[in-house]
Symmetry: C2
DNA sequence: TGCCTTGATGTAAGCGCTTGCATTACGATA
DNA sequence: TATCGTAATGCAAGCGCTTACATCAAGGCA
């Protein structure tokens, strides 16, 4: 391939029509309803299409046909395996249903998310996949005004309106916290992703609080550090928590990446897991079973969730009827990083 | 938010114009060149915009202004951390430069990739980011015909034409293989992703062959298994290779995920790494330093590559001049999974 | 032979937007 | 007061496409 030259103006239907010596209508029919065109005309047109490198202008087509068969998705980041896997499944299912996926990411920023949502809507998305419920009212209002099918996923919160396909972050984390308490842990510390603008992270922390409060224990004693997503940041938070007294006997992490950071740092600090301190994760991504000791965590059915979300969203679009939210099961997966408290 | 009702027809510029009692031209100016409109008119128009939930129709806008400030990217899969991180950096840099990113994935299938490329082009992408050089000639021809700026990344192959920002997979793997040979390994086995349609994977294997051949050793002795991306598949391949005789003293893997699978399986089989068998990876994603023993692998500067790719592609678009390919450094990172051969 | 059906193709409107040009109003200048 | 520049706004063309409707040729039938 020779180096790029000046961007040539894209060939249009009319260029093709001229080259094939037919009208634009005939070219259009060749492409959309080939049965309505005679064989030799079709052949001539298709040759012209190939020769000119013609590709129909999507904007023009969408403008007149009012449908794009495109779904937009805005995720917080592509960098997190947790979204990646679910989104891949989402896209595969969408493809099978004849839709195309366009992804944008918001870097966990509400303002960027709004921008991306508007952009996807402007691009004619027939429906939208969004993560979690946290967003400015004006965005929700905008979407609602449009009557655009929107599906929220990675979360299932019965208190929220709107359709969602996801799991109950709060209840799942509560279950894990209860098991932790059952083992006898009382000095609980928490490492979480930043809570602002992140209802999933908040729900997980609330789940821990629920469990603690239900046992009649004090919520005040709960030490909590918010930190950015990352192995190193998780390790730093862990080190800081282990300085507090009484020393935590378990560190519950809001996601597996933070937990892996904690486990690795524990080793550096000469602490045995779970002998000296237990550590738990959330998400059950690959890394959870790779680290040593393997993480006790909450398993989230990413792929199933992505596929279910795709089917649900398409149903909203095509049948245009009331579609029910769907709760998926997220259950505790026992491995080795959670044990009895020391002593 | 109430349940979605029938998708309302999106409000148009004309609706806004009517509501604000001005012409469509004025509304357009309010949105694009607010300085050219009087203060009170602008206020009135913006109120109407908000009230109606108006969002400009992207297709119509692109059609007349011939620029979309949109970059398309087609990656093999979102599920692989290696692409995720680089792409996130790519998108962040793009945003800083005032462009929007649209991502599509091909599931490692050339036909799907072609479809996605055409779709992104039809959507008016000002430029394209593609992974690797392997694609059907008709696609390359199509892109070239369009004169559309295309940047290839994740690979830097001096033999290829076209602009790329990446690293030399072959040379990097050759270097790692040479170190392996230096340690005394002679029974080398290889686990790789499927080689068809994947020039990066082929280049890596070729790098190993280069090193072996340069020592005057036989290439025939190289045992090689192709398998899909995954920890389990990597483990299975490893187990199969360890059945062959003479038993490999080192298993070189085409990527970290396969290598992690191999390491985990080695433990299951009761083999010590690197005592009984050495294992190497490629990519240096998070998981490489999480697994025990940590992987000796090739470090790829994902984020730097993504950011550099963004800058390079935008330069191609805006300055429309000849832009040089850029080779980034990918170097061996020593950790613990590679040692001397046993005995 | 004349009329109608059928299939293939052309004509032209209009989708929502931007923008060059025309128009208007108004204050400044001579 | 006549003239002009300027700022604000409107008018209308046209971007590339689909599609309802019109047209036309060819063959079937009475």
């Amino acid at each position: 391939m020779a180096p790029i030259s000046a961007p040539r103006p894209a060939p249009t239907l009319e260029d093709v029509a001229r080259a094939a010596d037919v009208s634009t209508a005939t070219v259009s029919r060749c492409l959309n309803t080939p049965g309505k065109v005679s064989d030799d005309t079709r052949l001539r047109v298709l040759q012209a299409v190939a020769a000119l490198g013609y590709a129909p202008n999507f904007g023009a087509r969408a403008m007149v046909s009012r449908r794009t068969r495109t779904i937009g998705a805005v995720i917080p980041t592509m960098e997190n395996a947790i979204f990646a896997r679910g989104l891949q499944a989402f896209q595969e299912e969408l493809r099978a249903l004849g839709y195309q996926l366009l992804v944008a990411s918001s870097s966990y920023r509400q303002d960027v998310e709004e921008e991306q949502i508007r952009s996807l809507v402007a691009r004619g998305a027939d429906g939208l996949l969004l993560i979690g419920h946290d967003r400015a009212p004006q965005v929700t209002e905008f979407l609602h005004q449009r009557g655009l099918p929107v599906l929220v996923t990675w979360a299932y919160d019965p208190a929220q309106t709107g359709v969602s396909v996801g799991f109950d972050n709060r209840r799942a984390m509560r279950t894990l916290a209860e098991k932790t308490l059952d083992l006898g842990h009382r000095e609980i510390a928490v490492i979480t992703a930043p809570l602002a603008d992140n209802d999933r992270a908040r729900a997980r922390v609330d789940g821990i609080r629920d469990a603690v409060a239900a046992r009649g224990l004090s919520i005040e004693g709960l030490r909590l550090i918010e930190t950015d997503y990352g192995i190193t940041t998780g390790g730093d938070a862990f080190a800081a928590l282990m300085q507090t007294r009484p020393r935590p006997t378990v560190v519950m992490c809001g996601n597996d990446v933070l937990a892996v950071g904690a486990v690795k740092r524990a080793r550096t600090l000469g602490l045995s897991v779970p002998g000296d301190v237990s550590i738990t994760g959330f998400d059950d991504i690959d890394i959870a079973s790779v680290v040593d000791p393997a993480l006790t965590t909450v398993h989230v059915p990413h792929r199933a969730m992505g596929a279910a979300a795709a089917r649900c969203l398409i149903r909203m679009i095509e049948e245009n009827g009331a579609v029910a939210s769907q709760e998926l099961d997220a259950h505790v997966t026992w491995r080795d990083s959670l044990g009895r408290p020391p002593g």
